[in-house]
Amino acid sequence: MIKLPSAFRTLLGWLPALAVLVFAGMALAQSFQTQIYDPTTRKWVDYTPRAAAKFYNRHGQSPEEFRRQVVPFRTAEKPGTIIIDGDRHFLYLVQPNFQAIRYGIGVGRDGFGWAGIVKIGRMQEWPTWTPPPEMIARDPESAKWANGMPGGPDNPLGARAMYLYVGNKDSIYRIHGTNQPWTIGLNISSGCIRLNNEDVSDLYSRVEVGAKVIVLMQGAALYKGV
C-alpha cells in the first residue's frame, strides 16, 4: 500500500470542500447590486465602491438602510439564529416576538458568493488575520502578513470575528468587522460577511457558539449543510 505524505493526505481530505468552493465561484448566475437614489438626477444609480466611499466621506456613515435597527421579522427560527440575505446586504439576528435586529453587511464579490446553512464554531475578539496563499499570490503586499497580522484597527477582520463551521470543520468563511466601513452594502469580499466594527461588536455580544447561521444568496452555489 502506498503511503502518502501527510500534507498530501490533508489536501485530499479538503478536495470536496475545495470543489464546492470552486463551484461556488463559478455558479453565481445572478449578482444583485445595491442601488442608491440620486436626488440630483432623480435616478437610481449603482452603489459602486466609489459611490459608497463618496457617501461615507460626506455623511460619516453608511446609508440609513444599512444602519442597525429592529425590524418586524416573521419566522419560525428560534431567537439567536442569524439569517444573512446577501442579495439585499442585510444580516438579521432573530429576536423574540417576531422581531429581528437588522445590520448592513458587505458580502462576496462576483464569483465569491455562497449560500448554505452553517453554524458559529468559534468567536474571537480582535482576531489575527492570516491571508491565504491565493490572496498572497494576487496581492504580494499581503505576503508580509503570511504568518498572521495581529488584531487591531488596521486589521481587515476588524474588531470581532465569528468563524462559520460546517459540523466541526471550519468553512473558511467568517462574519467579521472591517477596517473599511464604507464597504457595507457592497459585493466586495472573498466570501466573508463583513459589518462595521460597532455592529460586529454588538452582534458578537448577542450570539453564542453553536448559533445557526442561514446564508441566502440567489444564484450562488450551495456550501455544505443542505
Partner: protein, 109 residues
C-alpha cells in the same frame, strides 16, 4: 379689443389651470420620490422572512430530515405573492407564499 383681451385671459386661465393640474400631479408623485440616500437591490426577491417561512413550512410538510431547507431563489408570483425555490438533502420544492405570510402551496420539484 375686449374680445381679444377676453380670449387672452381665457387662454392664460386655461394654461394656469393646466399648470396647476401638472403641479398637482407632481406634488402627488413627489410623495413617492425616494429620499436622498435611499437604497434598494437591483433585483426583486421575496422578503427574507417570507423565504424562511416557506422553508420552515416545507420542512414540516415534506418531513425533511433535520429540517434544513434552504431557499435558493425567489421571485414575484402574481400581484401579491412570491414563488420561493427551495433545496434540501434529497430534494427540491417550490413554495408559493403571499405577502401576509400565508403559504398557498408547496410542490416537490
Amino acid at each position: 379689443m375686449n374680445m381679444i383681451v377676453s380670449r387672452k385671459f381665457t387662454a392664460l386661465l386655461a394654461a394656469g389651470l393646466g399648470l396647476s393640474v401638472v403641479a398637482g400631479c407632481n406634488t402627488s408623485s413627489s410623495n413617492q420620490t425616494p429620499s436622498a440616500g435611499a437604497v434598494r437591490s437591483s433585483g426583486e426577491t421575496a422578503p427574507t422572512d417570507l423565504q424562511l417561512l416557506c422553508a420552515a413550512k416545507t420542512a414540516e410538510e415534506l418531513k425533511v430530515t433535520g429540517g434544513n431547507v434552504l431557499p435558493v431563489s425567489s421571485m414575484p408570483s402574481g400581484e401579491s405573492a412570491y414563488q420561493v425555490n427551495l433545496t434540501f438533502d434529497g430534494g427540491q420544492a417550490v413554495c408559493i407564499i403571499d405577502e401576509t405570510g400565508t403559504v398557498q402551496s408547496i410542490s416537490p420539484a
